[in-house]
Symmetry: C2
Subunit: 338 residues, 2 copies
Amino acid sequence: MSPTQRPRVNRQFALKTRPVGLPKESDFELVEAPIAELKDGEVLVRAAYLSVDPYMRGRISGMKSYAAPVEIGQTMVGGGVAQVIESKNAAFAPGDFVDIYMGWQEYAISNGKNLRKLDPSVPVSTALGVLGMTGLTAYFGLLDVCDPKPGETVVVSGAAGAVGSIVGQIAKIKGCRTVGIAGGDDKIEWITTECGYDAAFNYKTTADYAAKLKELCPNGIDCYFDNVGGPLTDAVFTALNVHSRISICGQISQYNNTKPEMGPRLFGALIVYRAKVQGFLVSDYMSRAAEAIQEMSAWVREGKLKYREDIVEGFENMPKAFIGLFHGENIGKRIVKI
Amino acid sequence: MSPTQRPRVNRQFALKTRPVGLPKESDFELVEAPIAELKDGEVLVRAAYLSVDPYMRGRISGMKSYAAPVEIGQTMVGGGVAQVIESKNAAFAPGDFVDIYMGWQEYAISNGKNLRKLDPSVPVSTALGVLGMTGLTAYFGLLDVCDPKPGETVVVSGAAGAVGSIVGQIAKIKGCRTVGIAGGDDKIEWITTECGYDAAFNYKTTADYAAKLKELCPNGIDCYFDNVGGPLTDAVFTALNVHSRISICGQISQYNNTKPEMGPRLFGALIVYRAKVQGFLVSDYMSRAAEAIQEMSAWVREGKLKYREDIVEGFENMPKAFIGLFHGENIGKRIVKI
């Protein structure tokens, strides 16, 4: 379809049932919707790439969270990179690629606010990854929350994921020793050869996480960037240094629990180590996003920051691509190509 | 005994056995030791007041902590206020009262380093409480870790203790709404009438902590100063506000556990609330102690900062006074008068 050819129908994935535990494909429903005529100031865009991310599990849960949940029957939320195919807004022309929080659908109409025109000199898909939400998450969660110093040891869980693979590289740029935890030998291979992790281990084939961390972090752990939570985090607590900083980015091991998982109480150790644990959301840093993207773009151009995209083809595979995140299928940023 | 009369023997409490669970009096042994002749530069002091504090439980545990443990046969560590009875140090004269980390013994010889001469215009016992270690703990743990803003809600566990009773008052001075948690109606009475807590509840007679916190904190919780840990802290996590700050000062509910207590994993909530949990030790703030004591002394003189001492009489009662802390016997700062 050329940029100017108008589609007749939009396809969307709506939330059909609130998942209990691990989401199923049948929790989502593919529906069709008409595409309205544009009013002045509006643009019609067609998705090129849509993002699937672990945080979306929180949006389809009934639990209180930082954003309102997706209601049953509503289109799933999420970020995308789309191409303008019709425009009644002078700021956007057909053919432009934009970053847009459009949700799981093939087409969207926008009034132009919160649309960011993309620089076509870099692959536009990076706006969903290294130069988008997950890259910014790595950047601010590491630099602002952990504030790592040269020579410090930074441990990252989910180290082969969209965020973790970037965290390790930024930590290296800042002069740290980096130790990654991931679930697969292929992931360990990639993060140690390509992402510059100094050491890493596959938690799926490691019996004693604490002993392994002690071996790989002979000087203790100064910073921990946590995407996973659960027993991995418990093990990190056995090797913390005084004044260590822990950035809680995600807790993917917990997202599909049907009741809160119990674990050893960890706050006493925070006194022993005078340590800090801080949760954060990238959305709190949007006023500084442009500056961060500029710096990371330079690192990408200089070859200091590598990234990998895990592309799933076809809009109809959105639910499957999303669910696969919880099986650890992806290496790098998982994106659905539409 | 006059300040200049030289004693012949020193009495000390040595650690006899490493306690399992709640310490017993028989874990300590009263022993006698000779008192050496002074060398040049030294002073001999006699204890006037000795401190018992919950942190001492950590010192007699075999667990890794922030300081080396007291070994079996060693004199128990701890702070004291003592009077100089002999001096070969020009900076100290017989009769002077000093603040000294002398441990559980009646006499000590010091080379003068780490001795702080006390201002006799305020009761010298305050050097163990409001104008000493526990007061400084309240000051820095609240102001530095939580950084409370006027109008914010500050919740304090262990609110009738040596630290918690001061935390609430400093929070009031800073314009906050204060909610205390303590274990006894007499404690609740004292902190609400004397320490200015806006609201408080007795956790021993409250079935649903979360519901009570919701009732007493209609605007949610911005700061939590935690001396206790365990289920009280779990309940606080149900009422946190975005960007809330939690200062971990103590975890007295956990100190006598013989194995780690299990509780719901809380780190996911830190993402939802973009909240911070930070452990601290007052010893990290010693470079700023003089400034804090000056400010708190002024508050005491102005009647803005009230304190209560829970005096136990007699050196031989040190172990009993210490163990009573874990039964919540004390209101305010427990001190043993020698």
